[in-house]
């Protein structure tokens, strides 16, 4: 076998910097995927097991109780009302998973972003690569969740592509917010845990996931306007069973606003931390 020295050509001949300049983000996403797939068993178990168990307990169990006592919710059976919201909540959680501790790990714990930045790629591509993989995971997650919802009779097959794209929009926009937030945290993950406990978890309760928001106190209704999940859920319900919604434009505007603000903070902070 040849050794390192006998075949040495030198980087000047070997490396074309245009290639990593063009494909660097994709390489980062692939690396993230390779790392993430080390956990493929729990990922599949969670990806399928979570929606199935959730639908059995909340959707069918609680749903039958709701239907028996209240009849239709928003003009449809409870499970139909619940399904698009669950899909959106799951997408948001997947996006948060891929843009929170992963960022902290890259900057502080393993310094893998610094290793990447020693090569021909830079901070912007690292952030793009992370987001690309987060988007991939959100899409796969949404398709799997969507199929399970169809099998439970909660969705139609036709609505899966549209709902997956909405999930992608929600995941990407909120993912940028979380990526930006995580990129400002140094060393310990306490601030991320706080954000999970006091922002992400309550979001599921205040976004009209399990009930119509119009039945809630006005204060809660106002809080929902700040929740990306509520905007995503409203759009998803409209797409899924045609619920009437006068705020479609604003739902998109708020989601895009979150995404733009998140990206505006995330990219410069990535560059800054990698050049300090």
């Amino acid at each position: 076998m040849s050794d390192v020295f006998s075949n040495w050509q030198g980087a000047a001949k070997l490396v074309d910097p245009r290639k990593p300049a063009r494909w660097g983000s994709f390489y980062v996403a692939l690396a993230r995927g390779r790392e993430s797939f080390k956990w493929w068993m729990p990922m599949i178990a969670y990806g399928i097991g979570h929606p199935v168990l959730y639908l059995m307990s909340i959707g069918i169990g609680l749903g039958s109780l709701v239907s028996k006592n209240l009849g239709l919710v928003d003009g449809v059976p409870y499970l139909t009302f619940l399904a698009p919201a669950l899909l959106m909540a799951s997408a948001l959680q997947a996006a948060v998973d891929e843009t929170s501790f992963v960022v902290l790990q890259g900057f502080s714990w393993e310094k893998s972003f610094h290793a990447m930045n020693q090569t021909a790629i830079g901070g912007r591509q690292i952030a793009n690569g992370l987001m690309l993989y987060a988007m991939f995971r959100v899409i796969i997650n949404s398709i799997v969740y969507g199929v399970i919802l169809v099998l439970f009779g909660a969705l139609s097959w036709e609505s899966i592509p549209g709902l997956s794209l909405l999930a992608l929009l929600l995941g990407t926009c909120w993912g940028y917010v979380f990526m930006a937030y995580a990129s400002y945290i140094h060393e310990e993950g306490d601030m991320l845990v706080l954000a999970m406990r006091f922002i992400v978890a309550p979001m599921f309760m205040f976004s009209g996931t399990f009930y119509e928001l119009k039945n809630m106190p006005e204060l809660v209704q106002n809080i929902a306007w700040a929740s990306p999940l509520w905007h995503g859920t409203e759009l998803a319900r409209s797409l899924s069973y045609g619920s009437s919604d006068p705020y479609t434009f604003w739902h998109y505007a708020v989601l895009l606003g979150y995404g733009l603000i998140g990206a505006a903070f995330a990219y410069p902070q990535f560059m800054k931390r990698l050049s300090r």
Binding site: M1, S2, D3, V4, F5, N7, W8, Q9, G10, A11, A12, L14, V15, D16, P17, R18, K19, P20, A21, W23, G24, Y27, V28, L30, A31, R34, E35, K38, E110, K111, S112, H114, A115, M116, N117, Q118, T119, A120, I121, G122, L274, S275, R276
Partner: protein, 313 residues
């Protein structure tokens, strides 16, 4: 020799300065590195070596001054320059979840290298790092020395024009250090420029054609190891110990012995062209050291002379 046949300058720094608020990490230094040269940055912790190294690596922006790497400004052409560099950072930053094999593959892909090329390259690098048996082991399960060897091998995946090594042998056992030195020599023979920081004097003397001695962000001296020793130290050094209580008393009597003396907490260093002769002189003076050692001067002595401190202070 005509000017065109002179080795190309691959690194050029002029007035290079890096500050963090009021703290000056690198205080406006000038140096040049020629292609194929082994260039060292020597100094204690906090001297500014790693900061200088990170600026050369094109991952840390300078505050002031000029810097060109391979003829380009790293602040403007960072990724393009880094495409041709190999970097071995002080702290191993391997991907802990990935195997040894995957760590090199993923890193190679960041340079845009094809899978086909990398398949062979990884085998060569595993042999280089003596990690063939560990190819499928996650990097988090490797020993410290193995991680270091993998980090060094990974830094060669793109066959760099300049290999930057920040404290490369920290954590390696003596045998592994010598193996690495041998391999770095072979890379140098291939025309690879080596830039390394170290606080091991033997390493600097073995590997470097030329080096700068840094302290407090400044260059204290520059030259080849032999030239620096010649300029700043004597040929030999006599090290004597009189016990922690006896050193200071003995030092008073030794003021006129040798070329000069340095009194350290645990020993006295007497600089002279002939250490044995000085030792005889001590005996005649009635001084009986607990231990004595005559050795040749090293870069440690140069550093002591220049800064009044040892490298490990």
């Amino acid at each position: 020799m005509t000017k065109s046949s002179e080795p190309e300058l691959v690194i050029r720094a002029k007035g290079l300065r890096k500050t963090y608020g009021d703290f000056v990490a690198v205080a406006g230094i000038d140096f040049e590195v020629k292609r194929g040269e082994a260039f060292g940055l020597l100094g204690p912790n906090g001297a500014g070596k790693s900061t200088t190294m990170r600026m050369i690596t094109s991952t840390l922006q300078r505050t002031e001054g000029e810097l060109t790497i391979l003829g380009k400004d790293p602040d403007k052409f960072g990724p393009e320059i880094r495409a041709h560099l190999g970097v071995v950072p002080q702290q191993d930053n391997l991907d802990r979840q990935l195997t040894v094999w995957e760590n090199i593959l993923v890193y190679g892909r960041y340079f845009g290298l094809s899978r086909k090329f990398l398949k062979n390259k990884i085998e060569e690098l595993l042999a280089f790092a003596q990690l063939e048996e560990k190819r499928n082991v996650k990097s988090e399960e490797l020993s410290g020395g193995m991680k270091r060897r993998l980090t060094i091998a990974r830094g060669l995946v793109n066959e760099p024009e300049i290999l930057l090594l920040d404290e490369p042998t920290t954590g390696l056992d003596p045998q592994a250090r010598h193996v690495l030195w041998d391999r770095l020599f072979r890379l140098k023979e291939l025309g690879v420029t080596l830039v390394l920081t170290t606080h091991y004097m033997d390493e600097a003397e073995q590997l470097c054609d030329r080096l700068i001695v840094m302290d407090k962000g400044q260059i204290m001296a520059e030259g080849s190891p032999a030239q620096l020793i010649k300029d700043y130290s004597s040929k030999e050094v006599l090290e004597v110990r009189f016990g922690s209580a006896g050193n200071s008393n003995a030092a008073k009597k030794l003021q006129k012995v040798g070329d000069r003396i340095e009194v350290l907490p645990d020993r006295i260093l007497i600089y002279s062209s002939n250490g044995e002769k000085v030792l005889e002189q001590l005996t005649k003076m009635g001084l009986k050291p607990v231990t004595s050692l005559v050795r040749r001067s090293s870069l440690e002595d140069v550093f002591l002379r220049l800064t009044g401190r040892t490298l490990v202070d």
